[in-house]
Amino acid sequence: MRVTKIIKKNLLEIIFIFPLLIFISWINVLPIIRGILLGFQVLGRYSTYNYQQLATPTYSILNKTTNTVIIVGLALVIEFALALLTSLLLNRNFKGRTFFRSIVMLPYGVATVVSAIGFTFIFAPSGWYGNEILLKLGLIHSGINWIRGPIAFLSVAVADSWKTFPLIMLILLGGLQTIPDSLYEAAAIDGASKIQQFVHVTIPSLFPFIMIALIIRAVSEFNILSLPLILVGNNLLFLGTLSYDIYTSFSLGSANLADAVATILLVIVMIFVALYIYASNRLMERGSDE
């Protein structure tokens, strides 16, 4: 009785939400399940052969997994720091704020492949702009090879942050504007310094916005593909690029092998999501206790 009453009262909402959930299940959840199954198949029969292949030195999957985790961490730190700094700056009421906000938003309109090409000119191995400028400023004495070795992580992370920080900035700026001035005034009356106000007022109020921004970005970050493909090519492979590489090689069984790589990526993302949800619940409970 009670259930039918609730359904009747909220009929419109129920009718409205279902197409969305069904569509997402059809175009997203179903293919995921099929992708996982295909990764365990060789010529139509189930086996773990694909995964054994990936463990061999030809693919050295462990190395690609580490690369992926490093790039996600590094890129998130850089883009989040940039976004927080810019949003704090743009939250001040100075003349020209709208103008600077327009400039900062520009990279958001630039396609990833385009930004990758732009950064190819900066992070080319020798002779190009990155090295040229650092040499002229006297910061380095000989050219750096930006696309090989550990420094390639930094090149990819900086190029990626350039394109992605405006979105985080917008979310954080939206969050900053929801904090009432009275909170700061009260803190100031209690004798809190600017830094204390930042730690005890700004960060807690901003918390839900930080969480949503990080989840949105981390998700895409694990999938990083077209940018490293163009910027560093095969010098530094991530799970996404490895999967793409294998799939587009068009050799026999390559699609299944690509699915297996993608499944490993999926498992890592799921572990991350689980940790994330656990941490955000813990933090939210702690927040509501205060």
């Binding site: 990279p107 702009y129 839900p208 999938n223 993302v269």
Partner: protein, 272 residues
């Protein structure tokens, strides 16, 4: 610290951020326009001595540009349409739910998006093959919508939440049905947020690479074509760069013109 010092610091900080943002864009511009001798040497120039537009004509001539441009446009508008079709009702329902349930659904949507595009690209390509949508704009658009929808829904939830609920409540007291209240009151008042959703979906599709390249490898969108040009193109890096500018300019104009709709509060509303 006095006020002049404060604003000086602010302008210096803003200018540093702006240089970081603008420098790569400037490089993309001059590399397409400069003579290759001034770029490909040990100390590349920052200000070219002469400029040439020949690479733009080369790209348009060699790459059968128009059909691909039309495909990209078609796909982007289809993605916007599909996202609104499913996103508007879904977001409206979520905005009326208890906060915790609504928040859980939003997180669920983002979790489905956590799946690497490459994981779903291959199975979706097979589905599209069966449905006869392989190598079509509609096929790409359906796949891209799956990734764009969570973000669009999130923005729309915020928009609907910002419409005061007493408006549609008083309409219902006056005898309007829930559905009537939705399309005659909530929907018109949510238009600004809907514009933002259209821009976001459009931008996402214009940029998307993985799904487009796997679902439509032959007749494909501009980002994928640029990638082909870089890896096996005839005109070299500078031609690929000229191509990028063609892809970039309409979007930058779009972002600047529609700037006033991209207010930061549209990204915050869903969490209020």
């Amino acid at each position: 610290m006095n006020n002049i010092g404060k604003s000086l610091l602010w302008y210096i900080a803003m200018i540093i951020v702006s240089i970081f943002v603008l420098f790569p864009l400037y490089l993309i511009m001059i590399i397409a326009l400069a003579p290759s001798g001034e770029i490909f040497n040990s100390s590349p120039v920052l200000i070219p001595s002469t400029i040439t537009f020949s690479r733009f004509f080369l790209v348009i001539a060699v790459y059968d540009f128009m059909p691909h441009l039309i495909l990209s446009l078609e796909t982007a508008f289809l993605v916007s349409g599909i996202c609104l079709l499913f996103g508007i009702p879904g977001a409206y329902a979520i905005s009326k739910m208890p906060k915790r349930l609504g928040y859980s659904i939003i997180i669920f949507l983002f979790v489905t998006q956590m799946v690497p595009e490459i994981v779903i690209a291959v199975p979706i390509a097979r589905t599209m093959l069966i449905l006869g949508l392989y190598n079509t704009a509609f096929g790409i658009a359906l796949a891209q919508s799956s990734i764009a929808l969570p973000m669009i829904t999130y923005v729309l939830v915020g928009t609907f939440k910002s419409v005061p609920s007493r408006l549609s409540e008083s309409a219902q007291i006056d005898g309007a049905s829930k559905l009537q209240a939705f399309y005659s009151i909530d929907l018109p008042l949510a238009l600004t947020g809907i514009y933002v959703a259209v821009i976001l979906a459009w931008l996402f599709s214009w940029d998307e690479f993985v799904l487009a390249s796997i679902i439509a490898p032959l007749h494909t969108t501009l980002p994928v074509l640029i990638y082909y040009e870089i890896t096996r193109g005839v005109g070299g890096v500078q031609a690929a760069d000229a191509f990028s500018i063609i892809l970039m300019i309409p979007v930058i104009v779009l972002v600047l013109v529609l700037q006033r709709y991209l207010k930061s509060n549209v990204f915050a509303g869903a969490l209020k």
